[in-house]
C-alpha cells in the first residue's frame, strides 16, 4: 500500500477548475517530483494534499485513510509536512520562535527525530540566527527556516513547493545538498519544481503536470534519458 495516494482528484479555486482527474502515488522513502510549467497545477496539487484547497471530488489517501476535507492542522498531525512556495515565515518571530510554534506537540509523546538541535545541525546558519527576527533573514536563510520549521512537526511525508525558486545559484546548490541529506535519512518527499537540474539527482520518480492533468509519469532515469518529454512539457 502506498504511503500517500491521490485518487481521481478534481480541485477548484472558486469557480475555476484547476485539477482534472489527477492521480498519483508516493511510496514510503521515495522522492516524487512534480514537474510542470508555471500555472500547471503543481501548487494546487500540494495544497490539495495538505487540505488548504480541499478537492471537490476524489480522495487523498494517507496510509489507507481518506483525509480529503480534513482541516490542514489535522492532515499535518497525521504526518504530512508542508513547505509553501512563498516561504511564509513569521517575520515578527525570532528564528527560535518560528521553530517553536511548529514543534510537534500532538500524538502521545512519540516525538520523531527532529528537534531544534537536529535542524540546527542540518542548517547551521540558523543556529547563528536563532535570536534574530525571521523578517531579517536573507531569502536563502528564510527558505532553510521554512524547511526547518516544517521538520519540527516530524512529518512522515514532506511536501516542498518550488523550494529553489528565487534563490541564488550557490544557495540552490547548498539547499540541494541539504535535501539530499534529508532523503538519505529516509524521509519521503514530494517535490514540486520547475528546475529539472535541481531535482535530477534527488528524485526517484517524476510526474509531469500540465493544465491540471498528469501527462507523463516514469522513473527519474527514464525521464532524464528522454529529451523529447522535457521538450514537450517543460521547455519554456
Amino acid at each position: 500500500m502506498a504511503l500517500l495516494e491521490l485518487s481521481h482528484v478534481e480541485t477548484y479555486y472558486g469557480d475555476s477548475h484547476i485539477l482534472f482527474d489527477l492521480s498519483l502515488t508516493v511510496e514510503a522513502g521515495e522522492v516524487v517530483c512534480l514537474l510542470g510549467r508555471n500555472g500547471a497545477g503543481k501548487t494546487t496539487t500540494v495544497r490539495t494534499i495538505i487540505g488548504l484547497t480541499p478537492p471537490h471530488t476524489g480522495r487523498v489517501i494517507l496510509r489507507g485513510r481518506d483525509v480529503a476535507g480534513f482541516a490542514p492542522f489535522r492532515v499535518v498531525r497525521l504526518g504530512i509536512g508542508f513547505v509553501p512556495e512563498d516561504r511564509r515565515i513569521f517575520p515578527n518571530l525570532t528564528v527560535h520562535e518560528n521553530l517553536e510554534v511548529a514543534r510537534r506537540t500532538w500524538g502521545n509523546g512519540r516525538a520523531g527525530p527532529w528537534t531544534e538541535d537536529r535542524v540546527f545541525e542540518l542548517f547551521p546558519i540558523l543556529r547563528e540566527r536563532a535570536r534574530q527576527l525571521g523578517g531579517t533573514l536573507s531569502g536563502g536563510e528564510q527558505q532553510m527556516l521554512t524547511i526547518a520549521r516544517t521538520l519540527m512537526g516530524n512529518p512522515e511525508v514532506l511536501l516542498l513547493d518550488e523550494p529553489s525558486e528565487g534563490l541564488a545559484p550557490l544557495v540552490v546548490e547548498t539547499l540541494r545538498q541539504q535535501l539530499g541529506r534529508l532523503k538519505a535519512s529516509g524521509l519521503t518527499m514530494v517535490l514540486a519544481e520547475q528546475n529539472v537540474r535541481f531535482v535530477s539527482e534527488l528524485g526517484d520518480r517524476v510526474y509531469i503536470v500540465e493544465k491540471g492533468m498528469v501527462r507523463y509519469q516514469d522513473s527519474m532515469a527514464t525521464f532524464l534519458a528522454d529529451p523529447e518529454v522535457r521538450r514537450a512539457y517543460l521547455a519554456v
Binding site: 495538505i50 488548504l52 482541516a71 490542514p72 492542522f73 499535518v76 498531525r77 508542508f82 509553501p84 511564509r88 513569521f90 517575520p91 515578527n92 518571530l93 520562535e97 518560528n98 517553536e100 510554534v101 511548529a102 514543534r103 510537534r104 506537540t105 500532538w106 520549521r149 516544517t150 512537526g153
Partner: protein, 283 residues
Amino acid sequence: MSGLSVGMFLFLVSVGMSLIFGVTRIVNLAHGSFYMVGAYLMVTLVEVLPDRPWAFWVALLLAPLGVAMLGGVIEIGLLRLIYRRDPLMQLILTFGLILVIGTLVLLAWGPDNKSVPRPAALAGSVRVFGQPFPSYYVLVLGLAPLVALALWLVFYRTRWGMLIRAATVDREMLGALGVNVAALYTQVFVFGSALAGLGGALAAPTVAVALGMDGDVLTTAFVVVVIGGLGSFAGSFISALLVGLLQSFGILVFPAVSIVLLFAIMAVVLIVRPWGLLGRPEQ
C-alpha cells in the same frame, strides 16, 4: 493620578480588544459589554460573599472568570459561524450582542445604578504631593505595571504567546504547521474577555455601575486601540495611559471640548500613521 487609573481600566479593555482583533480579525463591539458585565458581577459577588476582608479579592478573581465563560460561550456558539463571512456581518452580530447583553443586564440587575464599596483596607486616602488621593487608586496604579508585565511575559515568553503573535501575521500558515487555530481563537477570545471583565471589576468601586457604561468604555477603548495600533500590545498600553490622562485633564481644563479633543487626536494619528503609533502597516 486618577487619569492614570482610568488609563489602567482602559488598557485592560483595549488590550483585550486589540488582541481579539489581531488574532481573529473580529472587531468585537461587544467588548464594552464584557467590561460592564464584569462590573455588575462585582456588585453581586461583593454582596453575596461573606463580609470578610478577603471577599473583595475573591470577587475580583471570580468576576473576570465569569466574563471569560460568557466570552467562551459567545465565541463557540456564535462567532465560529461567521469568521469566514463578510466583516459587515461580524459587525452586525457583535453590535447585536451589545443590545442582547444590555437587555439581559437590565433584566438581571434592574435599571438603578449600583455601587461597589471599596475594601476596608483601601477605603481611606493617602497624601500624594500634599493632595489627598484615594488609596484604592494606589492599588490600581500598583497593579497596572504588574498586569502589563504579566501580559508581556505571556506574549513574549510563552509558547502560547508565540502562537498568538504568529496568528496575527499568518493564520493559514499556522494551521498548516499543525496548530489548531480554531481552538486558539477560542482561547484568545476567552482571555480577551477576561481582561475586559477584570477592567470592569477593578473599575466598579470607582464609578457608578450603570447601564450605558458599556457604550462609554467601548468608544474610548476603540480610540485607544486605533491610536495605539490594532494588534499592538505596547501601543495599547501607552495610548491607554495617554487617553486616560487626556480625559481627566481635559475635563478639568476645557470641559466643553474634552471628547472632541480625543477624537481630534485620533484623527491626527490616523492621518499621520494610519496603522497607529506602534502598529504595523498591513502588507
